[in-house]
């Protein structure tokens, strides 16, 4: 049976380089002074390139006469004016709510269907051709159909997000579930671990590195699909607002919308990383221990 092509890496690359804890010892906390200095140098590393890029853009836009590339200060003042107003409630929060709802639904569907497919080769054989077909349809082309089926309200937008985000989660979950170590599975059987406990402590946990990799890909997709779904037949949301600004030649505002989208993506990705470092604490330690050997 053919394996589904993976949309991304089977396992997340270890972000940061947490040192392997000493063998046979509890992980140690670094010294305070050292930590502060490290945090300072890290902040420098993180901020250096953005500052340079903004500087380059500032120079380019100041020396350019183009109407479409406003200087950073214009964009910044448009940003403050726009997003620290009632637009926060009218556009930003509804967008984020749709994004998170869609992402959560996709995660629930993707993981549960993925577990089902991963555990039963018969279900896999039955569903895989259909799933491969559905996966090949680019989610944006579903928008016209979704408008017919679900109208132009939130449920259409959420459906579009779900229809795109579910795939990386589903496929990675299937891979993860299929890769459960047979020795560990035998161990669980010997100790009478079955049913939902088996699912909870064995299957989902051992597939969690792959599931998290799928969720990370899906999160990036969710932001894109959120904007796309709001560009059609919409009256609110960031995608709607940005298109509206563009059409009314409110160029600094259009840029401010793009900047906000970037910041939302950055924040969500940082939050995700935080969650991942907790969920996959064991996995990073395990990998570090293997590398150390």
């Amino acid at each position: 049976m053919s394996q589904p092509t993976q949309t991304g890496p089977a396992a997340p690359a270890p972000a940061g380089s947490a040192p392997a804890p000493a063998r046979g010892a509890r992980p140690r906390r670094p010294h305070r002074g050292g930590a502060a200095r490290r945090a300072g140098s890290r902040a420098l590393h993180v901020l250096l390139l953005p500052v340079v890029l903004i500087g380059v853009y500032a120079y380019a836009s100041a020396t350019s006469s183009s109407y479409y590339t406003p200087t950073p200060d214009l964009i910044a003042s448009a940003f403050v004016e726009l997003w620290f107003s009632e637009r926060l409630f009218a556009d930003v929060l509804p967008s984020i709510a749709r994004l998170l709802t869609g992402f959560t639904l996709a995660a629930l569907i993707g993981v549960s269907l993925g577990v089902l497919l991963g555990m039963s080769s018969r279900v896999r054989a039955t569903l895989e051709p259909v799933l491969e077909f559905l996966r090949a349809i680019p989610p944006p082309v579903l928008v016209p159909l979704m408008i017919l089926l679900a109208g132009i309200d939130d449920s259409m937008k959420i459906l579009v997000i779900v229809s795109g985000c579910v795939w990386p989660i589903l496929l990675n979950t299937v891979e993860g579930v299929r890769a459960v170590d047979p020795v560990l599975a035998d161990t669980a059987r010997c100790y009478g671990i079955g049913g939902t406990t088996r699912l909870r402590v064995l299957v989902l946990r051992s597939a969690s590195p792959q599931i998290m990799a799928g969720l990370r890909l899906a999160l990036a997709l969710a932001i894109i699909l959120m904007v796309i779904s709001e560009m059609f037949a919409s009256s609110s949301g960031l995608g709607f607002a940005i298109v509206q600004f563009q059409r009314s030649f409110a160029i600094p505002e259009m840029w401010a919308g793009m900047v906000l989208l970037g910041l939302i993506g950055f924040a969500l990705s940082a939050l995700f990383e935080l969650a991942e470092s907790r969920v996959l604490y064991w996995y990073r330690g395990l990998r570090a221990a293997h590398r150390g050997e």
């Binding site: 000493a22 509890r26 035998d186 161990t187 010997c190 100790y191 064995l202 996995y283 395990l286």
Partner: protein
């Protein structure tokens, strides 16, 4: 075989056969195995590499159905992993839950047994104490050395309070010094708990040092070739026991049996289900 002594039979294997069918080819891994273990016995199973030790153990553990023959545990036929049997696998790194602390690994089967919280804590503490890992209860398995990880697996097995403890080459992948320590640990636990132990190994020294009895298996297709009672004193010591004249004699006997098994089976097909995991052999008198 009449080794039951004053106790009853705990584990009874009768006419066990396992044939692997893959398309047109058939490989008979285990031909006809019959033996039994009395309650509280410590028996070592030793045989040439690829003789189907792992297949046999999986059948006994109820993880794999035999092609024919039966396995009985305390008079009840084994068709699925029985609740009063614990297994320690060779691959310690793959048999522990990497996402759980040492304590949680040991406690998990007890939760499934629906034991109360206080009783679970007691059993976990006792078993970690027995394997000398009390200080590492909150560590993760991957923070420990290989030998310590195998101790965790042993602690989990004894906390489960099984009637029968199966061990599938548990020390094949640890270094020689750790191995000697773990051998003594198993003897100590066996003597204290009175559990019935079936210990599968490819190491002749280990089989004679540990066992009260050694079952020598033939090459694949496997039968029990010999059943040797180890009449060494119950109190064993890595230094003196291994220098004991009787130990040397028994070792020589088992060694000769295995050589005979290997020679009589020259040209016989290798058993695909075994052998792969037994790479880390000890230099002394490992069977190769």
């Amino acid at each position: 075989m009449n080794h039951q002594g004053e106790h009853g039979t705990m584990l009874k294997v009768t006419g066990l056969q396992k044939v692997y069918r893959g398309g047109a080819t058939e490989v008979e891994a285990v031909r006809d195995l019959t033996f039994d273990l009395a309650e509280g016995e410590l028996v070592c199973l030793v045989g040439p590499s690829g003789c189907g030790k792992t297949t046999l153990l999986k059948c006994i553990a109820g993880l794999m159905p035999p092609t024919s023959g039966t396995v009985e545990l305390a008079g009840r036929p084994v068709t699925a992993p029985p609740p009063d049997m614990a297994v320690v696998f060779q691959e310690y790194g793959r048999s522990l839950f990497a996402w759980m602390s040492v304590r949680a690994n040991v406690e998990l089967p007890l939760k499934e047994k629906k034991l109360g919280k206080a009783r679970r804590a007691e059993l976990v503490a006792e078993s970690l104490e027995a394997v000398g890992l009390t200080a590492f209860a909150d560590a993760y398995p991957w923070q420990l050395s290989g030998g310590m990880q195998q101790r965790v697996a042993i602690a989990r097995a004894i906390a489960y309070e099984p009637q029968v403890l199966l061990m599938d080459e548990p020390f094949a992948a640890v270094d020689a010094q750790t191995r000697a320590d773990l051998e003594d640990l198993i003897r100590a636990i066996w003597r204290r708990m009175g559990v019935t132990v079936l210990f599968v190994t490819h190491d002749i020294d280990e089989a004679v040092y540990l066992g009260e009895r050694v079952l020598v298996l033939s090459s694949s297709p496997t039968v029990v070739q010999d059943d040797i009672t180890v009449d060494l004193p119950a109190e064993r010591d890595q230094l003196t026991t291994r220098q004991d004249e009787r130990f040397t004699e028994l070792r020589a006997r088992v060694y000769a049996e295995i050589q005979q098994a290997k020679n009589s089976a020259k040209g016989a097909p290798e058993n695909p289900a075994d052998g792969a995991g037994t790479g880390a052999a000890r230099a002394s008198t490992a069977v190769h």
